[in-house]
């Protein structure tokens, strides 16, 4: 008899097959967890963490250190694999070696190409300009450097004034 993977109590009555990047995962739920009784739950979220957890237990990176832990929230690989949740955004830095193999197999590509938050994008632009300024000075292109300096000053002033409004 197969036991429900969500509550671990009742016999499974609903069997679902899911494919992630061509990889087959199966999910077995009791009728209660599948939403028959307490209201047909149309929501997607109860199902996703389960298959993720299944996947996570299969994946350990070669560079993974069993002792690795997030310096901010204390999250460990062990705990993450058990719960399927990270503790804070810093986990992505401190558990990088451990998470990368997981990201690679769940996501495929590892460079974000979608939308950026507006505030950060502005900061990014500023950094970019400052880097260009450095390069221009090094290359002794003073005319370009002066232009860049003006642009940076303008941007910084704009930011100051929007900050002031808050």
């Amino acid at each position: 008899m197969i036991i429900c993977e969500r509550c671990g109590k009742n016999p499974a009555a609903v069997h679902m097959t899911n494919f992630i990047n061509g990889q087959k995962t199966e999910l077995h739920l009791c009728s209660k967890c599948a939403g028959e009784e307490g209201g047909l739950t149309l929501f997607e979220s109860p199902f996703i963490p389960m298959s993720v957890k299944d996947l996570l237990s299969q994946m350990v990176g070669e560079k993974a250190h069993p002792q690795a832990r997030c310096s901010r929230c204390g999250m460990t690989l062990e705990r993450f694999r058990e719960e399927g949740r990270l503790g804070c955004s810093n986990c992505y830095k401190d558990l990088k070696n451990e998470l990368m193999p997981i990201l690679r197999s769940v996501q495929g590509k590892l460079q974000h190409t979608g939308a950026q938050p507006k505030v950060l994008k502005k900061a990014g632009e500023l950094l970019d300009l400052k880097k260009q300024l450095e390069e221009a000075i090094q290359a002794e292109e003073y005319e370009r450097a002066a232009k860049l300096r003006d642009m940076i000053r303008q941007k910084e002033q704009k930011e100051e004034s929007t900050k002031g409004r808050d």
Partner: protein, 341 residues
């Protein structure tokens, strides 16, 4: 008032609804799984202030003040998850027309969701995106140049976007074609799954098509490829459906008319039976066998007969047997309204 009540949307012969969800976290805060009540309330306060200072047509659902039935009804309307309502630290902010909902302190600090009838993926993303922009500018979201928006689970990192279409696919299901489609779609970084499980008539032939990959693809590409998959699935469904109708017209029409007959006269209906009747009525409407069916009413009926929503409408808790009787009554009324239009 939910838009369901007056509009079925584009491609509504097959697509019941479109949805997007954006996962976001406030930078500098622990993710919800590590937050205590005080920390969670701090996050909620910031979100509340931002939303209510800009938007008048939103309201807060305080789970500590709601009855179990009221909470379950919100989940049945897909405005929030059952987990959120029961978590003790979660809250829900919903627009008056119930198209936008913000789950606070669920798996991530924010789950911004938008739900519209029919195939309206671009529109749902635009609406959710507007809310995302407004909140992001004020609150500052956890973001990394390489990994994009940082989420509590690595499966959402990057865009944090999950887009999905709820599709009614009775011909493909009847012809046993769904496993093949599930397999093919899986190889595209997308997933199709039965909304209420697969391979039983109780599932109402409803399937949810959604993107699986969130990193390394832009929001636009996610929607475009989802739309492309949806269009090819719809083409197959329509072709198969009309060929079945051509070849086995009498048998098919008999099956669908009988289901309409039962829905019109049954005195007891459980959800499983209702879903299979619902599917047949919808199929009959799509094929033009039943004329003048108001799809908005039909789609809305699927929400109305869910256990908690039903009890809320009845104004009192109902045991399973009484629910089945009341459900039959609600269904009879709706079918009459649909037919006599």
């Amino acid at each position: 008032m939910p838009v369901w009540l007056y509009e079925a949307g584009p491609e509504s012969d097959i697509v019941v609804s479109s949805r997007v969800r954006l996962a976001r976290n406030l930078s500098g805060e622990l993710f919800p799984s590590l937050l205590d009540k005080k920390g969670a309330d701090g996050v909620l306060d910031k979100v509340k202030k931002t939303v209510f200072s800009k938007k008048a047509d939103f309201e807060l659902k305080d789970f500590s003040l709601l009855s179990p039935i009221e909470k379950a009804a919100l989940a049945e309307k897909r405005l929030c998850s059952v987990e959120l309502a029961e978590s003790g630290i979660g809250a829900l902010i919903v627009s008056r027309d119930e198209t936008i909902s913000i789950m606070v302190n669920e798996e991530d600090h924010l789950r911004i969701q938008c739900l519209l009838p029919g195939q309206q993926l671009q529109a749902v993303l635009a609406k959710a995106g507007e809310m995302d922009k407004m909140l992001g500018e004020k609150l500052g979201f956890a973001y990394d140049d390489r990994l994009g928006y940082l989420t509590s689970c690595p499966t959402n990192v990057g865009t944090g976007l999950r887009a999905s279409l709820m599709m009614h696919l009775p011909a493909l299901e009847l012809a046993g074609q769904m496993p093949g489609i599930v397999h093919t779609v899986g190889q595209m970084g997308q997933t199709v799954r039965g909304l209420y499980g697969e391979g039983s008539s109780a599932n109402g032939c409803l399937y949810q098509l959604s993107n699986q990959v969130t990193l390394g693809v832009s929001e636009e590409d996610i929607l475009n490829s989802l739309d492309a998959t949806a269009r090819s699935v719809m083409e197959k469904e329509r072709a198969l459906s009309s060929s079945l109708h051509r070849q086995r017209g009498l048998v098919l029409e008999d099956k669908l008319w009988r289901s309409l007959g039962i829905a019109k006269s049954a005195r007891v209906l459980d959800t499983a039976e209702f879903m299979s009747l619902w599917s047949d009525i919808k199929w009959g409407a799509s094929l033009g066998i039943f004329k003048n069916i108001d799809l908005a009413v039909l789609h809305n009926l699927m929400m109305e007969i869910q256990p908690a929503t039903l009890q809320l409408a009845a104004g009192k808790p109902l045991e399973a047997q009484d629910r089945d009787a009341y459900r039959a009554e609600v269904v009879r009324r709706a079918i009459e309204q649909i037919i006599n239009k």
